[in-house]
């Protein structure tokens, strides 16, 4: 039961809290309390704001190396793509007409893994099957090749998009066929290596971090991407550079309340991302850092797997670069091979060496993944396609060995014929993916028709890169990559 008592102003007179009853002592006491609050409020409120601002700059995640190699080979021009990889469907429907158009014998097909076939007598196929020199400690080249096939080639699979790159060389050259994976693929260096990249990059890849290597790669040219300019001697050292990074962050923290960063959207992530990024440069101070990364002969994981010394300087550099991508030190390794406009070129003296060079690069990629025991994705495409008119038999040099091959006779540009944007997946455990090809192939001519869902080269390249990122990321497509592409 609620009892209400009626009150009037007389009842309030003695109320200590009423203003009209404020005594001198009360006034002084309240003044003291107010003064205390004024002093304390700064700590209570501003302390919280500044604390948040400080926290944003003080917590840097440890550098993370995400194992998994991603690479691209872009053949600029119009090679005979049919004389490289083909898929299950193409192998199943192989006939003399298709073989002639592709520039292979068609009777020596070898399956490497799901959806991965080569002609063992083509320059490309023979190179892949030979593998790297001395692989697995094989007593003879044949023994090494056998180990290579068992331990590595059996752990790959492939897929891709048939058809979207079926333009003649000039038409398709700069349609954005070069991609990138940094920062979507996190790495210690935080950037891709862009080797001989001259063609236009994909629109989504234009702003991605990468260091250009403008000549054929060597250990020295790659090492330059991981070094200070000028050299650090007499100017700084890892500790001094680290202290400078600390001071830079302290300065930003000091100015944070001045610029009201605590309430500015994005300030926290900006200060963390930028402030923490500096610390990765400390390693670059060591003048031997880059050299140690990209000198294959100094990497025991590689020298224990194959005979590095007999590789060319370019192959050694690529091997080391792929290895650093595989172990998470570098981002992607994006390589362009120019002058692959095959039509009219001599099959033995020109076409075969070019096919061998690219196949050897793929061998280096697979060997690096094997050495690092990390998954890998290799994107392999060209902007054009040369249709072939059969093959020419001849002897070529592959890895120092004389090999008789059936090299494609590239007869002319073939817009609308066979081409594909390929992707090769390597699994260190042998638990390979069962990727597929999109598009269709004419069972008579072998010509490819693009899948209607692939509207452009751009979309095809983006799809390949997202697939590559997913493969090395345990099946997860990095959200930022999906958004960017």
């Amino acid at each position: 039961m609620l009892i209400k008592v009626k009150k009037n102003w007389k009842d309030l007179i003695d109320s200590k809290t009423h203003v009209h009853g404020l005594s001198r002592r009360d006034f002084i006491a309240r003044g003291l309390a107010t003064g205390s609050v004024v002093v304390a409020a700064q700590k209570l409120f501003m302390g919280g704001i500044l604390g948040k601002a400080y926290a944003a700059t003080m917590t840097c995640p440890a550098p993370v190396a995400h194992p998994g190699a991603i690479a691209q080979i872009f053949s600029e021009g119009g090679p005979t793509m049919g004389a490289r990889f083909i898929g299950d469907a193409q192998a199943a429907m192989m006939n003399s007409g298709i073989a002639g158009n592709y520039g292979i014998s068609g009777t020596n097909l070898v399956q490497l893994g799901p959806n991965m076939w080569i002609d063992s007598t083509s320059p490309f196929g023979a190179t892949l099957l030979q593998g790297p020199p001395g692989y697995g400690g094989g007593a003879t080249p044949a023994a090494s090749a056998a180990l290579w096939k068992t331990n590595v080639l059996s752990k790959i699979s492939g897929g891709g998009h048939l058809g979207p790159f079926n333009m003649d060389d000039g038409a398709g050259q700069n349609t954005g066929l070069l991609g990138g994976v940094s920062p979507f693929k996190q790495s210690v260096m935080g950037k891709d290596l862009l080797i001989n990249n001259a063609a236009t990059r994909a629109s989504w890849a234009g702003g991605l971090p990468g260091s250009k290597v403008k000549s054929n790669p060597t250990a020295a040219t790659l090492a330059a991407t991981a070094a200070l300019t000028p050299a650090a001697t007499g100017l700084t050292n890892p500790a001094a550079l680290g202290a400078a990074s600390d001071a830079a962050n302290a300065l930003a923290t000091a100015m944070s309340p001045v610029f009201n960063n605590a309430t500015r959207k994005g300030a926290s992530v900006a200060m963390t991302n930028a402030g923490c990024a500096f610390y990765g440069n400390n390693a670059l101070v060591d003048p031997n850092y880059g050299t140690s990364l990209f000198t294959a002969s100094g990497i025991s994981a590689l020298t224990s797997k194959l005979t590095v010394a007999t590789l060319s300087a370019q192959e050694q550099a690529l091997l080391a670069a792929y290895y650093q991508s595989a172990n998470g030190t570098a981002g992607g390794i994006i390589t362009e091979y120019g002058g692959r406009d095959y039509h009219g070129n001599d099959p033995i003296t020109q076409i075969a060496p070019d096919d061998i060079e690219e196949a050897r690069a793929i061998v280096m990629f697979l060997a690096a993944c094997d050495a690092a025991q990390a998954p890998g994705s290799m994107i392999y495409l060209a902007n054009g396609q040369a249709i072939a008119n059969g093959t020419q038999n001849g002897t070529v040099t592959i890895g120092g060995q004389q090999v008789t091959v059936n090299s494609p006779v590239a007869s002319g540009d073939a817009g609308g014929a066979y081409n594909a944007g390929l992707i090769i997946f390597y699994s260190p455990t042998g638990s390979v993916s069962n990727a597929r090809f999109t598009g269709t192939v004419n069972s008579s001519s072998g010509n490819a028709t693009v899948d209607p869902n692939i509207s452009s080269n751009r979309d095809a390249v983006a799809g390949l890169y997202l697939s590559a990122l997913a493969w090395v990321s345990g099946g997860q497509v990095p959200a930022a990559a999906l958004k960017a592409m």
Partner: protein, 215 residues
């Protein structure tokens, strides 16, 4: 053929979806769909639930702005067209941030590399170097004897990025203390020279000024 943005996204998703669902040993379909639903459309998460867009947001200076800021921070004593500044830009310039959205920008590490190149230009020339002539830091003298000038050099450089707030603002003491701590730390290693200390101060002031203050 022109297609709108949403149609392009659908096509790109189609391109990846065409390949991805066929990984036998990975559950590829679900992550793709999950990422699609959570990331296509809407604003970019900027941390703390905030979003990036609009007035008052923190934006990152991109490459050209970084270069201009460094040049201004060093009072036009260096040029991106010559010396080590130019060489550092050749090596790392293409990696400088290209977008202002802090949730998307990358390449901050390259800012420090470019600053390093620019700062090194101040140290050339011995007693006629800008380090000595302008900032009164003598390379052959001890760090201790240069300490006051080293701190003053850092504050002077940082002031160029903050319209003088580095030395005159409410947190001037913190700014000065940051350089004091830096110089003390560097001097703690006996083999470090005053040139190394000056480089450290220069790198700190100019990396912070060119990339950590936003705009």
């Amino acid at each position: 053929m022109k297609i709108n943005k949403n149609a392009r996204k659908i096509l790109v998703i189609g391109a990846i979806a065409a390949v991805l669902p066929f990984f036998q040993n990975c559950d590829m379909g679900s992550p793709v769909k999950a990422n699609l639903s959570s990331n296509v459309g809407g604003e970019a998460a900027a941390g703390g639930g905030n979003t990036v867009q609009g007035v008052g947001d923190f934006s990152m200076p991109t490459g050209p702005a970084v270069i201009s800021r460094i040049t201004n921070g060093l009072e036009n004593a260096v040029s991106p067209l010559k010396g080590n500044f130019q060489k550092a830009l050749t090596a790392s310039g293409s990696n400088l941030p290209l977008v202002t959205d802090p949730t998307k920008a990358s390449g901050f590490d390259s800012v420090q590399l470019v600053v390093y190149g620019a700062c090194s230009d101040l140290t050339t020339g011995g007693t006629n170097s800008i380090m000595t002539k302008t900032y009164k830091v003598t390379g052959t003298a001890s760090i201790a004897s240069n300490q006051a000038n080293l701190i003053a050099a850092g504050v002077r450089m940082f002031d160029n990025y903050t319209a003088g707030l580095g030395s005159q603002g409410p947190t001037a003491a913190q700014v000065s203390q940051a350089f004091q701590t830096l110089v003390t730390t560097v001097s703690g290693t006996s083999s470090n020279t005053s040139t190394i200390a000056f480089m450290s101060v220069c790198i700190a002031a100019n990396t912070a000024g060119s990339s950590l203050l936003g705009f």
